[in-house]
């Protein structure tokens, strides 16, 4: 059961004439790793709060799993929806409140009707999932370091065992190593446990290696929807959406111009990851094709020279 937004608009009551979301339309399939990208003020956070009915659309409809969210109408079982959609807000460490880490991790599961033993078991497995030791369980969450607090807060959402995980800028203010580790973890959750992961961010470079599907937002509208490869082919629209073109895109584009070759997937199902290895492989392929095509014109010696300096 996928996630479908049809013609969703949202205006905040403080300023009803301004549409924070303007007729948003997209689809997300189950088990996908989705990146929602956009500059600040493009409506990303507003969009994200529609996933678990914290905000309701002012017009249009949202279908999430087997729930329908429409303006005005009361949702039948909003609690059930919120258990299945784990929403992690920006700076989630600010939501910690309990005396021990364990109590904080159990808060979600207990609210959703788990027994104390079940909740404790879920807490332990969630903590291990984010790579923290169980020795933290009895500590106060306020004694932890900033990075650990962030991880505990995210674990507190994972402990609810949601089917869909929605995260708002989860890597903001983390150091580069933790950032990479964390996205790796999300990717693992997505692929191994078949959870749908939706990451809202303004760092396109960071999520590109993992995403199956991308949405680019601009001024409350969807500026682009598609795969990594499609985004690469339409990279110019990123500028229109006030976003920088990521480095791998620039490198490959330059390489295409030099070699008169095009970036291509080896099989139609291959995912363009734009990781360092993937980019290197593409450059190598384009270069080789270029050498072959200009073999007649370039002398053998020059070719050897190029190969050596490669």
């Amino acid at each position: 059961m996928p996630i479908v937004f049809s013609e969703v608009s949202h205006a905040y009551p403080t300023d009803p004439s301004y549409l924070a979301l303007d007729r948003i339309q997209f689809q997300i399939q189950e088990g996908q790793f989705v990146g929602i990208i956009g500059p600040t003020g493009s409506g990303k956070s507003t969009l994200l709060q529609h996933f678990n009915a914290i905000l309701r659309p002012t017009s249009g409809r949202v279908q999430i799993l087997d729930f329908q969210i429409t303006p005005g109408e009361k949702i039948h079982d909003v609690k059930k929806l919120r258990q299945r959609i784990g929403l992690v807000f920006q700076f989630p460490e600010q939501q910690l409140f309990a005396e021990t880490v364990e109590q904080d991790l159990c808060f979600g599961p207990l609210n959703f009707g788990a027994t104390t033993d079940e909740a404790k078991a879920l807490a332990v497995s969630a903590l291990e999932l984010v790579g923290l030791g169980t020795d933290l369980l009895d500590r106060s969450p306020f004694q932890l370091s900033g990075g650990q607090m962030r991880k505990v807060a995210i674990a507190s959402v994972l402990a609810m065992n949601p089917d869909v995980l929605v995260l708002d800028e989860p890597t903001a203010t983390l150091d580069p190593k933790s950032r990479a580790d964390f996205l790796e973890l999300l990717h693992k959750l997505c692929k191994q446990q078949n959870k749908t992961v939706i990451v809202v961010t303004h760092r396109l470079d960071e999520v590109l290696p993992y995403t199956d599907h991308l949405l680019v937002m601009h001024e409350g509208r969807i500026g682009f929807e598609g795969s990594n490869m499609e985004l690469f082919q339409q990279a110019e629209m990123l500028k229109k959406c006030k976003m920088a073109i990521p480095k791998p895109f620039q490198i490959l584009r330059t390489c295409e111009l030099i070699t008169h070759q095009a970036v291509a997937l080896s099989t139609p199902n291959e995912r363009a990851t734009f990781s360092i290895e993937w980019v290197a492989h593409q450059i190598d392929r384009m270069m080789t094709a270029w050498y072959t095509s200009v073999e007649g014109e370039v002398s053998h010696a020059a070719k050897v020279h190029l190969r050596q300096s490669d």
Binding site: R82, F89, Q94
Partner: protein
Amino acid sequence: MQQKFIFGRVIETGSWVHQLDPRSKMTAMALFAVIVVMLQSLTDFIVVTATSQIVLYSTRIKLTTYWRAVRPLKYLMLFIFLFQIFLESGGELLVSWGPIQIYSGGILTAVFTVWRMFLFVSFTALLTFTTAPAKLTQGLEDILKPLSIFRISAQKIALMLTIALRFIPTILEETQRIVKAQASRGADLKELPWKDKAKTMIALLVPVTVCAFRRAEDLVNSMESRGYQLDAPRSKYFILTWQKQDTLFLSIFVLLGILVFFI
């Protein structure tokens, strides 16, 4: 939550009241408070109500906006009204029904008390609607200066007020975010029965308090790193000047006071 929060918002219309010295406005408010407490007869009430509404009207802000400032107090006012009706005896006995006895004096007191509250709250809203918080605190600092003979620092009090006013919207916003985050973890205040509401409040109050303390610490550090020192001589952002209009504004209330007190 935010759009209900009408108190403490400046509405700029550029009227003569907006341009008054905050010190004259504050002194006038204090006088008005005294006057409201001293009101006794119906004529007093009518005179003061008429005068205050005319002054409010001259700010060119809609009168209904001032009346709306009373709205958050509606339950308190209702409670006080009923309290006075049932417990105040005096005048004729109007209704006697079991233990409930209502006297004409009770009704009169109840109406007057609520009327007083209405006058006071709607009129003092003028101060916050027409004066920027920075001017307000600076005016307060000036008024409190004489307290220095009791070793009370007016600057400290003014600084506290400035910071408190400045952070009300920030903390409200932060609270809203935490409300949403906890709702996502299955603790939605709106959906819960009353008994569980109290328990969930802890999950909101602790993070909000922690945030407020963290903010306070950040603020102290950033102020100190920019060389802020309490009680150091500082230049002022606004230069307050007392003008003819200020005397005029203040004399309205002095006259009103004399009128109510002696007639």
